[in-house]
């Protein structure tokens, strides 16, 4: 009988504990997969009316029964994705999205959103307010890729994808592939937010535009937009972008065209690492020491001068070093010209020389203009490919 009493006591305790446990549990928000509009891409544009924005969602049309046009068998669960772009205009982002419930049969679900494309007009006007919702909502992720579109962002999401099934997917994959060129930054929402709340650091965001090739529209990701104070202030072309990426230690691969003794050679960056160190000279001037270490390989060469020949390699390396240094120098000058600290140099200085930072922080913009750069580039040769002579008859 004693055990029974104990058992009853325990049961009571269990029931009380469980009722508390489940009563306090606050995630009672179950929803079936087929009640969701799964958003894959977002475009934010400035609307015609002043102070209003247009948000376009790209929603996966998961191809219900009878709807699949591309002939995939019913319910087989194969990817037969089509998409649907739906736009709504209003004042605040959250409001606009809520209002979509009036026109959509399924609730908007942004956890799988992959890209946010910001239209140029809105970017120039400022993105801080428009991104508030996306940063705040716990549903959306912070690893969403951000783009700035030349023209309207919604047009990018309308472009027929080439290989992928959805334009937003196409965009993300293009961004990932072009990493090999290091000519556009890869920026997530989190990176952009970090830039937006920093006092000194300016953000860069890759630019996407529609490039017409033989009357076909293609999305093209290259170059970047510079955001200062939440507004887009300038564009960098792809060479300048790579120059900036060198300084930011974000170059991993890429190719250069180098002219050595009349021979044009493509030099591939195989591996790269860069270090940025602020230093204060005796006269109080701030110097940015940029050191780049890279491994390069020979991609191809047009001309007779054999760059694979060990005696000629130093010459080739020298020219490559010069090209890289020039690229960085150009980018640095450009950044100074538009007065945008896209390198995060201010934060770097604050961490390293807090006292100096206290002196300059109030007039950082002017200080930034006066900063000088010391660029050191050290590269090593890393292979010339399968052949070690150009395809010319040897000189004898």
């Amino acid at each position: 009988m004693k055990t029974l009493k104990n058992a009853c006591k325990r049961l009571t305790a269990c029931i009380v504990a469980l009722s508390v446990v489940f009563g306090l549990g606050g995630c009672y928000d179950r929803r079936e997969l087929n009640t969701l509009s799964i958003v894959f891409g977002t475009a934010i544009d400035k609307a015609d009316k002043k102070g209003e924005t247009t948000i376009t969602f790209q929603i996966a049309d998961v191809g219900g029964e009878g709807k699949s046009e591309k002939g995939s068998p019913k319910g087989s669960g194969q990817m037969s994705t089509q998409y649907l772009n739906i736009s709504n205009t209003g004042k605040n982002a959250n409001n606009i999205i809520r209002d979509m419930d009036h026109i959509l049969s399924r609730e908007v679900y942004i956890a799988h959103n992959q890209v946010i494309v910001i239209g140029e007009d809105l970017a120039r006007e400022g993105v801080r307010d428009s991104l508030d919702f996306f940063a705040r909502s716990p549903e959306g992720r912070l690893n969403v890729y951000i783009f700035v579109a030349r023209g309207k962002g919604s047009d990018i999401l309308e472009t027929e994808p080439k290989l992928e099934k959805m334009p937003s997917d196409d965009l993300v994959r293009t961004l990932m592939v072009q990493k090999r060129t290091s000519e556009a930054p890869i920026i997530t929402e989190f990176d952009l937010i970090k830039g937006l709340i920093s006092k000194t650091t300016c953000s860069i965001v890759p630019i996407v535009y529609i490039k017409e090739i033989e009357d076909k529209e293609n999305v093209c990701v290259e170059g970047c937009a510079v955001f200062k104070d939440g507004k887009m202030i300038a564009e960098l072309d792809k060479k300048e972008t790579r120059g900036v990426l060198w300084i930011r230690n974000e170059v991993k691969n890429g190719a250069f065209l180098v002219d050595v003794e009349g021979t044009k050679a493509t030099v591939e960056i195989r591996e790269a690492r860069s270090k940025v160190k602020p230093e204060i000279r005796d006269d109080g001037k701030i110097v940015l020491k940029i050191q780049v270490n890279a491994m390069v390989g020979l991609g191809d060469q047009y001309g007779k001068f054999n760059l694979s020949d060990p005696t000629n390699i130093p010459e080739g390396l020298k020219m490559t070093e010069r090209a890289i240094r020039k690229e960085i120098r150009n980018a640095f000058n450009k950044v100074k010209a538009i007065n945008a600290d896209v390198i995060g140099f201010g934060d770097c200085l604050r961490q390293r020389y807090p006292k100096k930072w206290e002196q300059v922080k109030d007039h950082w913009d002017e200080t930034f203009k006066d900063i000088e750069a010391e660029i050191t580039v050290k590269i090593k040769a890393d292979g010339n490919g399968r052949i070690d002579t150009p395809l010319h008859p040897s000189q004898g």
Binding site: M1, L4, K5, A7, C8, L11, T12, L18, V21, F22, G25, C27, Y28, D29, R30, R31, E32, L33, N34, L36, I38, F40, A60, V62, G63, G64, E65, K74, G75, S76, G77, Q78, M79, S80, T81, Y109, A111, H112, Q114, E139, R141
Partner: protein, 538 residues
């Protein structure tokens, strides 16, 4: 309110306790009469004139001076033995020396018969009728001699029994193929043949007032914890029931936590497994009439051990154990995770998979939970049917089952394709740990229901609850989760990892063996080099 419930329950239980009539058959004592006819009559009446009670009256010796009778139950006695070793010597004996009326116990007729006439190895003297009847019921033959108040219980049992076969529920690739059978004598001999040690002790008792089932416990007295043996014996003695038909009855009467979904007593039908458990210091409980032998105490880790683990190389055995643990987790969690992820945590799915799943769920009329429930219940039905149905219609079932669970259900739009995969994985995984099927099936439903109501939070709570519950269990005083909790590094080499046998010097502490060591020191197997050297010298 709970107090009220408690009182009700108490009243209910106590009523049951007093209602059951405690008839003790051995209490009525009718002494054996000196008159043969009386004895036969009494026995026949006590046995309610059952037709299968056979009595055969004879006269002893060629002189035909003394009358006698044997009584046995048809089908339970070996007639050949009775004919050759009992009837023939009795009838053929010549010059029967003793006068029939002698009352001297030592030189009495019954003593002479017992000592020099019957060619039977196992004979017991019986003084009263009830004893005689219980001997009869166990299959022995009783011999009454006219004029003597002692009867002889002659052990000449012979009933139909199965031969030692392959274990149907614990098939092995490597290892002994023999299996316990329903006859307890054969079973004890199977264990004894594995452990030829005089310390292996088999103790026998009878449980069940009506079935009078023979139950034996087997242990090595120097190895098993004395307290454990005492506990097992006491619990067995305390059983008050009229019938024991299978070891499952015993299990439910003596287990520590009858309310738990987990079993705290292990069972096996392989003699090598039983022997291994006994050698680890456990106690085996053998029940007449079933090939399933209980072993106690049973720890949770034993679910994941298999006899083959010790016959294979340790690396593979360890891998297999990890696989078993993964399979057990899969079969508990897979349906719940599927439902909770698709209804609560869609963000956890890779984007590509989400589209696939969403398009598979398109047009399915039920919520994922109901969909899952349908499939799991269907599977349980098929499984149950597969066990019960006659072999001949098995093929029909497997075809229907494959169609129902597979293609057709999807094509009919009843369930989505991913669900089929999840249920299939769940089903297949559940067979990896066969002894765990019972608790797992229950746990799976609990986890599924909580998971579908509260998502990952519910699953966590359910699993946490199960863990807390398991941690609170003990089997004959030994913590259920040992050697993991409480952690014991020594025992851990036979929990998830199976260390090489030569490294396992000590018996598991978690079952409290009295003799802690299997041997004194680590003796690694001789290396090839040493062997070669010795060969050359020789």
């Amino acid at each position: 309110m709970f107090g009220f419930l408690y009182k009700k329950a108490k009243a209910l239980f106590s009523k049951k306790g007093t209602d059951s009539k405690q008839e003790d058959f051995s209490q009525k004592q009718t002494p054996v009469s000196r008159t043969l006819a009386d004895n036969i009559k009494t026995i026949r009446e006590e046995m309610l004139l059952s037709c299968d009670v056979i009595s055969r009256e004879i006269t002893i010796g060629k002189e035909r001076s003394t009358r006698a009778a044997i009584i046995f139950i048809d089908g339970m006695a070996d007639k050949k033995i009775i004919n050759d070793n009992v009837l023939k010597p009795l009838m053929n004996i010549s010059g029967f020396p003793i006068s029939p009326g002698s009352t001297d116990r030592k030189t009495g007729i019954i003593k002479v018969i017992e000592q020099s006439v019957l060619a039977i190895s196992n004979i017991a003297e019986v003084q009263n009728i009830n004893e005689a009847i219980s001997e009869l019921l166990t299959g022995n033959t009783v011999l009454f001699v006219d004029g003597d108040d002692t009867a002889l219980a002659i052990s000449a049992k012979g009933f139909e029994k199965r031969s030692v076969d392959e274990p149907p529920s614990e098939a092995v690739i490597r290892g002994p193929r023999e299996c316990f059978i329903e006859d307890i004598k054969t079973n004890t001999s199977l264990i004894r043949r594995k452990i030829k040690n005089q310390e292996l002790r088999v103790e026998t008792m009878t449980i069940g007032q009506r079935t009078r089932t023979v139950v034996s416990i087997a242990y090595i007295s120097g190895v098993a914890n004395a307290g454990l043996v005492e506990t097992v014996k006491n619990r067995l003695k305390a059983i008050s029931t009229d019938s024991i038909l299978e070891s499952g009855y015993i299990e439910q009467f003596i287990e520590d936590s009858p309310a738990s979904i987990f079993s705290t007593i292990g069972y096996t039908e392989k003699p090598d497994v039983a022997a291994a458990k006994i050698l680890e210091g456990r106690v085996a409980i053998l029940v007449d009439g079933t090939p399933f032998v209980l072993t106690a105490p049973m720890l949770f880790a034993e679910y994941f051990q298999s006899a083959e683990d010790y016959y294979f190389r340790p690396y593979y055995a360890t891998l297999l154990r990890i696989v078993r643990i993964i399979a057990a987790m899969t079969t508990i969690l897979a349906p719940a995770i599927y439902v909770s992820v698709t209804t609560f945590h869609q963000e956890l799915l890779p984007t590509g998979l989400l589209i696939t799943m969403a398009s598979a769920r398109e047009g399915i009329p039920f919520p994922a939970f109901v969909e899952c429930l349908i499939m799991i219940v269907t599977f349980e039905i098929l499984r149950e049917a597969g066990i019960r149905l006659p072999r001949t219609v098995g093929q029909a079932l497997s075809i229907v089952g494959a169609l129902v669970i597979g293609e057709s259900a999807v094509a009919a739009g009843l369930i989505g394709a991913p669900m089929v995969i999840f249920v299939a994985i769940t089903a297949v995984s559940s067979f990896v740990v066969p002894n765990l099927i019972e608790p797992i099936a229950v746990l799976r439903f609990i986890v599924l229901i909580l998971g579908s109501m509260f998502g990952g939070y519910g699953i966590t709570i359910a699993m946490l609850g199960a863990l807390v519950h398991m941690a609170s269990l003990n089997s004959f005083g030994f913590p259920y989760l040992s050697p993991t909790a409480p952690f014991d590094p020594g025992d851990s080499k036979d929990a998830i990892v199976r260390a090489p046998l030569w490294m396992m010097i000590k018996r598991p502490k978690s079952v409290g063996a009295a003799d802690k060591k299997r041997r004194d020191k680590v003796v690694p197997p001789p290396t090839g080099e040493n062997d070669g050297g010795e060969d050359e010298n020789a």
